[in-house]
Every structure is written in structure tokens, then in C-alpha cells.
């Protein structure tokens, strides 16, 4: 009886664990299958074409890819310096009394749903961008900025965790040699935690590129490559969120699936690089 129960328990749990792998394989194959029609019909024109016009069945994803890259780039450029500042503040500067409350509130802010950030962006940030930079306010620039604010708490929290891995004894030795705080940060903490810090940034990049709701509100879904950042634009997730329910033809669906596949492959790659090359078994995130 016990023997049977034992076998049952171990085999069922093993089955469930393996099903996680199968699930991921299933996701990939389903996306590939559903993209086949568009892959066959459009080939590389899909990625290189810059005209997305469902009414005449033209599907070029370049504007969406361009939008994803640029909005994420803007977000990273803005968020990285602030995140480093916040992380230095939290791990080296803040008095002990402030460390925990500020640190915890940053972690809690990372838990606020991204749709709330998007809503805030639409009602409060769009008018500001419109007044300062001109245009209608719904733009690539707004999307990048809202995205940067959305990923900031996550980025700051993991960067701080990486910095906190530096053993106190190393820092204390440097202080004993007469180093200033900045000396300790730049010569001890940053070199020690370098891999972890870079890993955190790449992980945040992987999240930013797949983020949908924070940007859908403020980007406009306009399939046009424009170097003017104050113009409305689109990105891969924004296109998916806006058009999945409208798609009416096989090839339209198929090309949306191909966009999903592209997004999944890109973020899988970025996240894997962060996790396995930089963060390895440390599992700080």
C-alpha cells in the first residue's frame, strides 16, 4: 500500500514537472505552425517590409520591430542611470533606518500592474510630453519614458541585490585604506558585482521589450517608421494588443502569430543571456 502510494506520488509529480517542458515546447510549435502561412507567403519580406496594410494584405513588420527597439532603447537609456543611482543609494548610502522602508516600497512598486502605469501615462504624462516636445503627445518618446518608469523599480531592486552581494569585509578593507565611499563603490562594489549588475539590466531589457500594457496606451499603433520621436508609432506587443481581435483573414492572423513568435524568440534569447551568462546560479532575480 505504502509502496504503491510512494510510486504514485513520485511519478505524478515527475509527470507534472516534465509537462512544464512539454508546455514550452507546445507554445513554440503552436506559434510556428500558426505562423507558417505568413512565413511561406511573405518570407523575409515580413521582417524587412515597412508597409503594414491589412486591407491590401501587405504585412511588413519593420515598423513594429523598429518601434520595439527604439522604445526599449529610450527606456533603457533613461532607466539605467537612475537605477544605478537608486541602487547605490540603497546599498551604500542610505542610513539603516531608510534602507528597509525605501527598499521595500521600491519592490512593492514593481508589483503594481503595468496597466496602471499605462493609464497614468495616458492621463498625466501624455499632456506633459505634448506641451514640452510638441506633437499630440501619443508618441514613441512617451512610450519609451513610461516604459522606463515602469521598469525602474524592478531594475533598481535587482541591481541593489547584486550590489549587496559584495562581502562587507572587502568594503571595510578598502575603507581602512582611506578610500572614500565613491572609491569603494567604483573599485570594490561595481567590479565585484559587475556580472550581476549587467545581468539585471539585460533581464530588465528582456522584460521591457515584451511589455504590452504600459506602452499600448501611449504609443498610438501607427505602422510608420519615423525618426521624429514625437510621432505616434507602434511596437510588436502594441500591434498584437490592438489588432489580434480585428484580424479577419488567414494571412493577417498568421502574420500576427509570426510577430508573437518573433517576440518570444527575442525575449527568450535576451532573458537566457541574462540568466545563464551573467546571473548563472546566483538567482538574484
Amino acid at each position: 500500500m505504502n509502496n504503491l502510494a510512494d510510486k504514485l506520488f513520485s511519478n505524478i509529480s515527475k509527470l507534472v514537472a516534465i509537462s512544464v517542458l512539454l508546455l514550452v515546447a507546445w507554445i513554440f510549435t503552436t506559434l510556428v505552425q500558426n505562423s507558417m502561412e505568413s512565413i511561406k507567403a511573405l518570407g523575409f519580406d515580413f521582417i524587412l517590409g515597412n508597409k503594414w496594410a491589412p486591407n491590401i494584405e501587405k504585412f511588413g513588420a519593420l515598423p513594429a520591430i523598429y518601434g520595439s527597439v527604439i522604445s526599449t532603447f529610450i527606456a533603457m537609456m533613461l532607466a539605467v542611470p537612475v537605477a544605478i543611482g537608486v541602487a547605490i543609494f540603497l546599498s551604500e548610502l542610505a542610513p539603516a533606518k531608510l534602507k528597509t522602508p525605501v527598499g521595500v516600497s521600491i519592490e512593492l512598486l514593481a508589483a503594481i500592474p503595468s496597466v496602471v502605469y499605462g493609464m497614468w501615462g495616458l492621463f498625466y504624462f501624455v499632456p506633459i510630453v505634448r506641451d514640452i516636445f510638441g506633437g499630440v503627445g501619443i508618441s514613441m518618446l512617451t512610450a519609451g519614458m513610461v516604459l522606463s518608469i515602469m521598469i525602474l523599480p524592478f531594475m533598481a531592486a535587482v541591481t541593489r541585490d547584486a550590489m549587496n552581494t559584495t562581502p562587507d569585509i572587502l568594503k571595510e578593507s578598502a575603507y581602512a585604506l582611506g578610500g572614500t565611499k565613491w572609491d569603494v563603490i567604483k573599485d570594490i562594489v561595481i567590479p565585484y558585482a559587475k556580472a550581476g549588475i549587467i545581468g539585471s539590466f539585460i533581464l530588465a531589457l528582456g522584460r521591457a521589450i515584451g511589455e504590452t500594457m504600459a506602452v499600448t496606451f501611449v504609443m498610438g499603433n501607427v505602422h510608420k517608421i519615423s525618426f521624429d520621436l514625437t510621432k505616434a508609432a507602434t511596437s510588436i506587443p502594441v500591434t498584437l494588443a490592438n489588432e489580434f481581435n480585428e484580424a479577419d483573414s488567414g494571412i493577417y492572423y498568421s502574420s500576427l502569430f509570426e510577430l508573437s513568435l518573433l517576440l518570444l524568440v527575442v525575449s527568450f534569447t535576451i532573458i537566457s543571456i541574462a540568466k545563464f551568462y551573467f546571473l548563472r546560479r546566483k538567482r538574484i532575480a
Binding site: 514550452v24 496602471v116 492621463f123 515584451g210 504590452t212
Partner: protein
């Protein structure tokens, strides 16, 4: 300027800059939070909990349909995702341990935790919505389950590994079979940790919007039949906020406030559990 003065100057400059960036970062986040609280509290009233959606202009419009829909969607996902996640996590920690299979499952789950959720929505659309021919509450719940699974799996795995092996050995020495050791000794030792994982997993999927857009879709009226499209707080929030009607936008803020508070409370409770455990 002497060398020392220069070093002190640079040091002070960096200190000021990083404190400043912490202030800027916190400032933005406080701004969002205060906007959320002010607009949310202003829009809250009893009708929101008692009434279903109404056409714009009708002052009696509420969020009952979305609140109940959200409970169904997240509840079903929790009901399926939690036992599966705990079982899989148990396998990794207690049976697979450091085997190649276990390590692969851990790695893949880690990646899945950060993978774009809208892609999960597309996947569920292909396997559930398309064959069924229409959107449904179940499709939304399945998407949320897929997102929740790796989170529960990884926290269970981590938390079970924290249970000292001497406890297991003591139980084995008493002649207990392995499944009894796991269910009656290891699970008890890791109770607080597993519960925290569940709370954080629920909090995480409760805020998901993207995977619901084309799975559970939306419904402006109360529906408790999960075969049909179902309202959720997040999708309702999105639809109302992007509508041109001010009263709908107000309801959107109320939804945002209710949901965010729910998620923050779950997070805080989860943290308290962990703290309590550490304190012992």
C-alpha cells in the same frame, strides 16, 4: 586643488547625484501612487460594488461584473495552477534534485517567468479560442495558469530545499515512506514559504492584462459562465480608460485602485509570512 580635495569633491558629487536619482525615481513612483489613490478614492462608492456595467452617461454604472469576473478568472487559475506548481516543485526538490532534467526544468521556468505575457495570450488563442470559435473565461484562466505555474514551481522548489535534511532523515528513520515524509514533514516545514509563493503568484497574475485581451475578452455585464467571454478588472480598466467618456474613465481609476490595493496587500502579507519565518 590637492589630490585629496579632488577625491573628496568627486565623492561628494557622486553621493549627491545618486541621492538625487533616488529622489527622482521615488518622486515619479510617488506621483503614480498618489494619482492612483486620489483618483481611485474619489471614484469609489457603493454602487461600484453593487451594479454592473452601464452605458456611459448612466450614473449607476458599476464594476460588479468585472470584480466577479476577475474572481472567477484568477480563482480558476489558482485552483489549477497552485497544485500543479507545488507538485512539480516537489519533484524538483525531493526527487530530481540536481539531476539534469531538474536543472533544465528550473532554467526553463526561470525564463518563462520573464517571458512576454501577451505571447501566452496568442498561444491560448490558438489552442482554445480558435477551436472553440469564441472567447471564453476558461481561455483567460488557462493563460493565467500558464503564467502562474513557473512562479509557484520555483518558489516551492526553493522553499522545500530550505527544509533541513535532518528532518527528512529523522522521519525516514522512523520508517515513514517517502511520500509521507514529504507530505507530513517537509511540507509542514516549508508551509510559510509555499504560502508566500502562492500569494505572490496570485498577485502576479491578478495584474495581467495582455494575455486576457484575446482570451477571456470582455463583457459589460455580469457573467458567471466561464464558457462565455468574461469581464476582468484589468481589461475593463483598459477599455474604460481608453474610452472618451469621463464617467467610464472614473470607473477605470476605481478599478485600478481596487486591483492595485489587492495586489499590494497580497505582497505585504506574503512578505510578513517570510519575515515571521526568518524571525523564528
Amino acid at each position: 586643488m590637492t589630490h585629496t580635495q579632488k577625491r573628496v569633491f568627486i565623492n561628494n558629487a557622486v553621493m549627491v547625484l545618486s541621492t538625487l536619482s533616488a529622489l527622482v525615481g521615488m518622486g515619479f513612483l510617488l506621483w503614480i501612487l498618489s494619482v492612483l489613490v486620489i483618483n481611485g478614492v474619489e471614484a469609489l462608492n457603493l454602487n461600484i460594488f453593487l451594479n454592473e456595467g452601464a452605458p456611459s452617461g448612466n450614473p449607476d454604472g458599476g464594476l460588479k461584473h468585472a470584480l466577479i469576473g476577475q474572481l472567477y478568472l484568477v480563482g480558476a487559475a489558482t485552483f489549477i495552477g497552485v497544485p500543479l506548481g507545488i507538485l512539480a516543485g516537489t519533484y524538483l526538490s525531493e526527487y530530481g534534485q540536481k539531476s539534469k532534467l531538474s536543472e533544465t526544468i528550473r532554467d526553463i521556468s526561470d525564463i518563462m517567468m520573464s517571458a512576454p505575457s501577451i505571447v501566452i495570450g496568442a498561444f491560448v488563442y490558438a489552442i482554445v479560442v480558435h477551436p472553440m470559435g469564441h472567447f471564453s473565461g476558461w481561455a483567460g484562466s488557462i493563460a493565467l495558469t500558464i503564467i502562474m505555474l513557473p512562479i509557484i514551481l520555483r518558489t516551492t522548489d526553493d522553499m522545500l530545499q530550505l527544509v533541513p535534511s535532518t528532518l527528512r532523515e529523522a522521519a525516514f528513520a522512523l520508517g515513514a515512506p517517502k511520500y509521507k515524509v514529504i507530505t507530513q514533514v517537509v511540507y509542514r516545514g516549508a508551509k510559510a514559504g509555499i504560502l508566500t509563493g502562492v500569494l505572490l503568484g496570485v498577485a502576479r497574475v491578478a495584474g495581467e492584462t495582455a494575455p486576457l485581451l484575446f482570451t477571456s475578452f470582455n463583457d459589460n455585464f455580469l457573467n458567471t459562465d466561464m464558457i462565455k467571454p468574461m469581464a476582468s478588472l484589468t481589461v475593463t480598466m483598459y477599455n474604460y480608460a481608453t474610452s472618451p467618456y469621463e464617467d467610464w474613465q472614473r470607473l477605470g481609476w476605481a478599478a485600478a485602485f481596487i486591483l492595485s490595493m489587492f495586489i499590494l496587500i497580497l505582497n505585504i502579507i506574503g512578505r510578513l509570512f517570510l519575515l515571521k519565518k526568518k524571525g523564528r
